[in-house]
């Protein structure tokens, strides 16, 4: 769902770009937040809570609350409600607290 017309705000959308979320290809507009693109695609669960593993949706939408942390291009704990979408981004929902470093064997 997107708001196309708004009585006060004017939306200047960037060009359409493709990105990958949990292995599947999606489309969004360049420069909108990753969360906005996922929301428009019907994705509502952004994260699971770290202890009880309950679903967490978009909450503060301004980069404060940690409800939407995802791994973006390999970087864990990215706040996708403020991170802007770019062509070809690889976004993965995060189980647990995020992996900063994986030991190569």
């Amino acid at each position: 769902m997107r708001i196309e017309q708004h009585p006060i705000l004017e939306f200047r959308r960037g060009k359409k770009v493709k990105f990958i979320f949990d292995g599947k290809e999606y489309e969004g507009y360049e420069g909108e937040t990753i969360a906005a693109a996922l929301h428009a695609a019907g994705i509502r669960v952004m994260r699971e809570s770290p202890v009880l593993h309950r679903p967490r949706g978009l909450f503060c939408a301004i980069g404060n609350c940690s409800s939407c942390l995802m791994t973006v291009n390999g970087e864990p704990n990215v706040r996708i409600c403020t991170e802007k979408l770019r062509e070809g981004m690889v976004v993965n929902s995060q189980k647990g607290k995020g992996v900063l470093y994986e030991k190569r064997s």
């Binding site: 770290p50 970087e75 864990p76 704990n77 647990g96 607290k97 995020g98 992996v99 900063l100 470093y101 030991k103």
Partner: protein, 380 residues
């Protein structure tokens, strides 16, 4: 007017551990006076680590017995949530030939006291900490039973156990003055007057101020140290990493966040609990060079606290010779939290006139006037 057998000034881990140990030995008419909330001073601001790896026999023994107590503390104090205990070791890095020499001396001492600490080559250190940049590293010492505990939970566990035994804990109660008449001490606070024949000074960075109230001169100076904490991630750093060369330490807590601190050798000796942006810049620069993958971690917050520095970085544990009934448990110089279980026990034994379970004579205040300092070489 509140009358008690013992008044303890300071509601940090040391004060609460002394209160519990007194009550557990049957002396239950004890009051703890804390100016803010429990663990609001150095306890709650500390780096939350404990280690066996010290450079003096006394500190090694104190640490060894205290850590053995921490291992079973949650059961002893009936604290079901636990104290966030993690025993994945401390890795202490050596960068100069002098450090190598000192560390090997320390190891010989530690091993002679039955402590399982060992020397590691840079390659072996990297096996334990794969994210470690070993550039310039000559080696490291490692003790697998060193680790982490939560200072708030340890303090809370002692305080709750003490309360169950009848100890009274008064928070937001600031000591303003102490009057000594005969054997009786009258403690004036912002919340009324307390009297007891025995007063214990466990006031950390404020210990010298409390000492002056009864005419006891304590050579303890507050010294600011700063810490930051990051967002949590999945476990990747097992041991606490310490570098005396960089004056820093860094560990990952069981929660997943990284806690790290930096000592500034030029820090003025004054009571200062404000954090600075300079610390943030220096800490980040140094830790990213030492543990490069941490560059992608976000800092959540930073804070400062004070070490209660004594001239030889060792605690003062004794009854003041000039004021019988006035006991001192202060001057911990940055390692009060980790030895608190033993401090609590030893002070309770001293106060009750019982034989102490470890020798404590060397911690007496009079060592400074005799010039018998016990200098601890291994402090960040």
């Amino acid at each position: 007017m509140h009358r008690h057998e013992v008044i303890i000034i300071g509601g940090g881990v040391t004060g609460c551990a002394i209160a519990y140990n007194l009550a557990a030995r049957g002396l239950r008419d004890v009051a703890v006076l804390e100016r803010y909330y429990l663990a609001s001073g150095a306890t709650g601001r500390c780096g939350a680590g404990f280690r066996h790896q010290w450079g003096t026999k006394t500190n090694c023994l104190l640490a060894k017995h205290a850590i053995a107590k921490l291992e079973t503390l949650a059961e002893e104090l009936d604290y079901p949530g636990g104290i966030d205990l993690k025993q994945k070791g401390y890795l202490i890095l050596a960068y100069t030939p002098r450090m190598v020499e000192q560390f090997k001396k320390n190891l010989a001492l530690q091993q002679s006291l039955g402590i399982d600490a060992r020397w590691l080559t840079p390659e072996e250190a990297k096996e334990i900490v794969p994210v470690l940049n070993t550039e310039g590293l000559l080696g490291a010492t490692y003790c697998p039973k060193d680790g982490h505990a939560n200072p708030f939970k340890v303090t809370d566990a002692y305080a709750r156990a003490a309360k169950r035994l009848g100890v009274k804990i008064h928070t937001y109660t600031e000591v303003l003055d102490i009057k000594v008449e005969g054997s009786l001490k009258t403690v004036l606070t912002n919340r009324g007057t307390f009297q007891a024949p025995v007063v214990v000074n466990a006031a950390g960075g404020h210990a010298a101020t409390i000492g002056r109230m009864v005419g006891v001169d304590l050579p303890i100076k507050p010294e600011r140290h700063q810490i930051l904490v990051t967002e949590p991630v999945e476990p990747l750093l097992d041991p606490m990493v310490i570098s005396f060369y960089h004056h820093l330490y860094c560990q990952q807590t069981p929660h997943g966040s990284f806690v790290m601190g930096l000592g500034d050798p030029n820090e003025p000796k004054e009571y200062n609990e404000r954090s600075s942006w300079q610390f943030l810049v220096q800490m980040a620069g140094k830790i990213v060079r030492l543990l490069p993958p941490l560059k992608n971690l976000r800092v959540v917050r930073q804070w400062a606290g004070v070490y209660d520095m004594s001239p030889d970085a060792q605690p003062i544990l004794c009854e003041a010779p000039e004021v019988p009934g006035f006991f001192v448990a202060a001057g911990f110089s940055g390692h009060g939290f980790m030895i608190a279980p033993m401090t609590g026990q030893l002070m309770a034994e001293l106060i009750l006139g019982q034989p102490t379970s470890l020798p404590v004579d060397m911690f007496h205040l009079s060592r400074f006037s005799r010039g018998e300092l016990l200098i601890e070489p291994s402090v960040v």
